[in-house]
């Protein structure tokens, strides 16, 4: 791989031991994946934040890096933590878990990382532009930034994203290259998509079928960013889709080569079967919305449905701290809490220890959550739209 003089100096240790190791990691990964050079990144999003995911080994690694003086060079955000970083006690997160989670957050902060923990950094102040090179980790955020924004990122692991942040660079390969962003399968959608959950079901089905291909969708008449977020998240969870295009809706759809593609048809039958397959439970103990993290529009929708209601069983909605602030100011938080729900910030159901909080069956409207909850959190799942979920808890 070609390295500039300045980059050679990093490998010689001019930037200190931490940066040297981190840069060596980027160079080696670049060589493994056939990169020709390094490219500067505009922003980073680092995964491996929850204590539940990285445990003591990861915590100690991060503390060690911070104590060696490692500092990030570009705007860097974090993936969700394992708990709400402010209201963890009130919601009932275990104390020893909280202590370790706060150690992790401190280490990140000492490295200059913005301790906003979210899978939707683009809704919380880390917004890349079209064609900007970035190094993000979380699979749904990678999908959204590549597909809906048209920024360029591979799906980074925790350490390689941290390395990109500390060195301000990433190896030039994969989805950073225009020729690697071309679709290789066409998805013809012939079904009405009403709820965000419908987009999640479609995403789950397509991800399972296409695995790590780049789909080009036709037949999706309209979709807002919440719905595209839901679609991309589910495809990245059930498959490994890091980029998709939607005719007339996403920025690269007009630009890519889409002739002579193999075609997959998706209709009502496929969607119904997906709902059926993902429903493993009967009656939810808890409903958790906001996977990926809810936008203000989604929080406002929930508040509208819970106004003057009294829930029999809890409903959570997960979001970033930034959206939570706006929800507080708009009175949405008050409405949701009055009804017996919670707005949970900084974390999400998949990385928080909900199985230790006494819940066995979780209701969700997210294809991604329905994919992960049985394995990661030992949950039975009720997967349906928001109206039916609230009905179940009322």
């Amino acid at each position: 791989m070609y390295l500039t003089k300045e980059e050679e100096k990093i490998l010689d240790g001019d930037g200190g031991e931490a940066e040297e190791r981190m840069f060596r990691l980027l160079v080696r990964l670049g060589e493994i994946y056939g990169a020709d050079k390094m490219i500067p990144v505009g922003s980073v999003q680092v995964a491996g934040v929850s204590y539940k995911s990285i445990g003591d080994p990861g915590t100690e690694f991060l503390e060690d890096m911070a104590s060696k003086g490692a500092k990030v060079k570009v705007l860097t955000y974090l993936n969700p933590a394992g708990m709400d970083l402010e209201n963890w006690e009130k919601i009932g997160f275990p104390k020893d878990f909280a202590r370790n989670q706060l150690r992790i957050m401190n280490a990140f902060k000492n490295m200059g990382i913005v301790v906003i923990s979210t899978c939707t950094p683009y809704l919380a102040g880390n917004l890349p532009r079209f064609r900007e090179h970035i190094a993000w980790s979380e699979s749904s955020a990678v999908s959204f930034s590549n597909s809906v924004i048209g920024a360029r990122t591979n799906r980074e692991g925790g350490p390689s994203a941290l390395a990109a942040a500390i060195c301000g660079r990433t190896p030039n390969y994969g989805l950073h290259l225009w020729e690697k962003r071309q679709p290789n399968i066409k998805i013809k959608v012939d079904v009405e998509l009403d709820f965000n959950a419908d987009f999640g079901a479609l995403g789950y089905f397509v991800g399972k079928q296409v695995k790590n291909k780049i789909p080009y969708f036709t037949g999706i008449k309209d979709a807002n960013t919440d719905q595209l977020k839901s679609l991309g998240a589910a495809m990245a969870a059930s498959g490994a889709v890091a980029l998709y295009h939607v005719e007339d809706l996403t920025p690269e759809a007009d630009l890519v080569e889409k002739n002579a593609l193999e075609t997959l048809d998706v209709g009502k039958k496929e969607l119904d079967e997906t709902y059926e397959k993902l429903n493993t439970g009967g009656d939810p103990d808890v409903v958790i919305l906001g996977c990926p993290h809810a936008s203000l529009r989604e929080i406002s929708t929930l508040a509208g449905k819970l106004l003057d209601k009294r829930l029999k069983k809890p409903v959570w909605i997960c979001t970033s701290r930034v959206m939570k602030e706006a929800a507080d100011r708009m009175g949405f938080t008050e409405i949701i809490e009055k009804a017996g729900g919670y707005i949970v910030a900084d974390t999400c159901m998949v990385v928080s220890p909900i199985e230790k909080m006494g819940y066995k069956t979780t209701g969700v409207n997210s294809g991604k959550a329905a994919n992960y909850l049985p394995g990661f959190c030992k949950q039975e799942v009720v997967f349906t739209n928001i109206n039916k979920l609230i009905e179940a808890q009322s």
């Binding site: 060596r24 080994p57 990861g58 690694f61 925790g158």
Partner: protein, 128 residues
Amino acid sequence: MKGRMISPGKTEGAAIVTNEPIGFYGGIDIKTGVVIEKGHPLEGRCIKDKILVFPCGKGSTVGSYVIYGLKKNDVAPSGIINKETETIVATGVILAGIPCVDQIEIEKIKDGDTVLLDADQALVTIQK
């Protein structure tokens, strides 16, 4: 044997060899360096200061941090030789500073052989 340098450095020591992949997270005790994965051919053996020879990594990506932790706790292997180093092991050895070479015919190395690992030159020499 000539392979590919993953992480630089030079070391010599007794080889501990397995043909099974290793999952470091949950597979190796970070405090002692003892293999704890049930049913693994190396179960119960300590990898400290040995040259660890295995085909590739497997399992959780947290394994990278375990490799780093082994080094910090002074119970890491002195070197690693792989058939194909994937990103979990590559990330771990580079961050920890453990010499590592891959693309080696590991079948030629027998458990207990004294091995010279010169990762800077990507060379592996079996001395006995």
